[in-house]
Point group: C2
Chain length 388, copies 2
């Protein structure tokens, strides 16, 4: 096990009707004027925005609002948000949404107190100061409600990059599973895929003797297989949604990932797919992960066999562990397909001739990708081809 | 799943030689003068106390020290610590030890800013203010390094009671598994038993649809079975000690217990054993838990069968789930015995005629015990008898 530090000071408020506490929570964490940040009209149609405003009014918290966040959030709206927040003396960011809205809010939070361009933080500049963020989560997927990171796409070149630092953990996150019961199946399935992928990026490691975090990651994945199926067939099932929602947080606040090297190569490859083809992040991961595993398996067949046996219930073939490992990957792929996700680049509109451009874009100013398998341009290209 | 809040702001610093960072950490968290609190001479013999003082000196942090904490820490030393801390203007508590030392420090931390008797907080008074605590952990067991609680025995009547509140979570906890490799087998085994018990107190619940936390608790227990065995047969194995040490934290910082009713009846019954017979807390739990399970099993046989199958690797007998459930309890008991723990009250020096006194003491000023099985005096007495 590697040495590590772990610091997760987010105050999670989980359960039915918890969004009504938002005014008091903003006050508790020192906010006076918030920027309510959201995507399209769903927060209006569902009445969530009105409930949030009522709670803020009751706590005498002033607010401005900025909607329009798209999936895979863009730099243009972030810049607009920074300008608005400065002009209006906003001192607290309040995203209502999933990972895209929360990540866009984190980017604005970074940009407001910074003299330079917020994008610096997405090119490796150390994250040190940011406005406080409190999130109201409407989509179980990214885990951004408890995580240290923010992913944004720069419209100048369409590069999708990540900023990271403990200060980006939200001060509080309000998580009401009821808010997720009206999600369309595609978004639900994208979330399920993303949550499992966050576990897999941590699971495939060369760090030895990480039994506890192995088991914790398996726990989340096993839960997602059961509750993911239940949410797909019975979308309004509160209990399935609740288990999925807390799984999203546990999968990515890094309690399951401490003390071990992590991979993240597939996430980096995915960034190019969602940016190029406009698919959801989860769909992009769905398309790539089986191919990444089939490529990576030779590095440590027994780790993949463990994944097959413990997560996918395969029987260990002691004469032929490679067969077991492959069976695990097949079952993963079958599950992803079962919940309605694409499993090939072709299905999301990609073409073989795009691959050189995907690879070039991925490596633009970012030479390092992956740990379990350090990706070269050649390997990335091979995995994209396998995923066609 | 129940509604819940979760807030765990402790900064964990885990790994080899991490105790050298203590001076900088105390400074970071605003301490100027610390009370170094510890048990017997082992922190001196091991050189830990000297290393800690050197780090404090280097960071210009002043200190006083108070040793003498016993297992199952006592109110007398707590009062002495409160007086010393006030006289010396201590503003930060620094325990070096396991749960007893950390809990004693939390009690002093509660008492210093409070006008009344610190014991009030152990009789139900709300915990609102306390000196900050930073822990250096030398024993993997109680999870007090990440938990909200403190257990102390009042020498006036020998009542062992608990105070609880988010403010009792340490500001930081330094966790170096190397410090645990010299522990005697009995203490190691007591710790292993305590960690598994913290999972079991949460696992046996009537709250429905808690698949994620079920799986997370199973993850910790499975890890403890594997790594516990490894540490018992190979005590200096760093990797086993590291997995056990982080398991202790995960088992009790409540990340595995949110959203579900928890039991804790066995812990309350145990308090009487360690207070009366001077056994370790882990030994007292070892003695009681199989009997508690055999008594409680009828409440939900399938939950015990799940425990047997998922944690202890039993094969499900679909014709006779009770047989499976019993087999799981038997395997738990065999494991506890294998690592050298007692499995009957007789083994720790208890006698049948003591039972009425144990029961009376347990219910003295504390009428409520247990959730999965609400304990009456009659039930507690029956379980004590079963454990003879």
């Amino acid at each position: 096990m590697n040495n590590f530090t772990f610091y997760s000071p987010t105050y999670f408020v989980f359960g039915k009707e918890t969004e009504k506490q938002v005014g008091q929570l903003v006050k508790k964490y020192g906010g006076h004027k918030v920027l309510i940040h959201y995507g399209g009209g769903s927060v209006k149609r569902s009445g969530l925005l009105d409930r949030v405003k009522a709670s803020l009014d009751a706590a005498n918290i002033a607010y401005v609002e900025l909607g329009g966040v798209k999936a895979n959030p863009r730099s243009g709206l972030v810049r607009e948000g920074i300008e608005l927040a400065r002009k209006e003396n906003v001192d607290f960011m309040l995203p209502l949404g999933g990972g895209s809205v929360i990540d866009s809010s984190k980017a604005i939070a970074l940009g407001v107190p910074y003299d330079g361009d917020f994008w610096d933080f997405y090119c490796g500049k150390a994250v040190e100061a940011a406005l406080p963020v409190g999130a109201i989560v409407t989509l179980a997927a990214s885990g951004s409600e408890g995580s240290t990171d923010s992913v944004v796409t720069n419209e100048d070149g369409m590069y999708k990059r990540c900023a990271d630092g403990d200060i980006l953990r939200p001060k509080f996150s309000i998580m009401n599973p009821e808010l997720t019961t009206t999600l369309p199946p595609y978004q639900t399935a994208s979330g399920i895929t993303d949550i499992i992928a966050h576990c897999m990026e941590r699971y495939f490691t060369k760090t030895k003797d990480v039994e506890l975090t192995d088991r914790l990651l398996e726990a989340v994945m096993l839960t997602m297989i059961k509750e993911g199926r239940r949410a797909m067939t019975d979308p309004t099932n509160y209990e399935a949604r609740a288990n999925i929602m807390w799984s999203a947080t546990i999968a990515h606040n890094n309690i399951t990932g401490v003390g071990r090297d992590q991979d993240w190569g597939t996430h980096h490859m995915e960034n190019e797919l969602s940016t190029t083809y406009g698919c959801s992040h989860g769909a992009g991961l769905a398309v790539l992960f089986s191919s990444w595993m089939r490529y990576a398996m030779k590095e440590d067949v027994l780790r993949f066999a463990q994944f097959a046996v413990r997560v996918w219930g395969c029987e260990m073939d002691f004469q032929n562990p490679e067969k077991t490992a492959n069976e695990g990957i097949d079952r993963y792929e079958a599950f992803i397909k079962e919940i309605g996700m694409p499993i090939s680049i072709t299905e999301i509109g990609g073409k073989e001739e795009d691959i050189p451009k995907l690879v070039e874009s991925m490596f633009h100013g970012a030479p390092n990708h992956g740990n379990f398998i350090p990706l070269t341009k050649e390997i990335a290209s091979e995995i994209y081809h396998m995923a066609l």
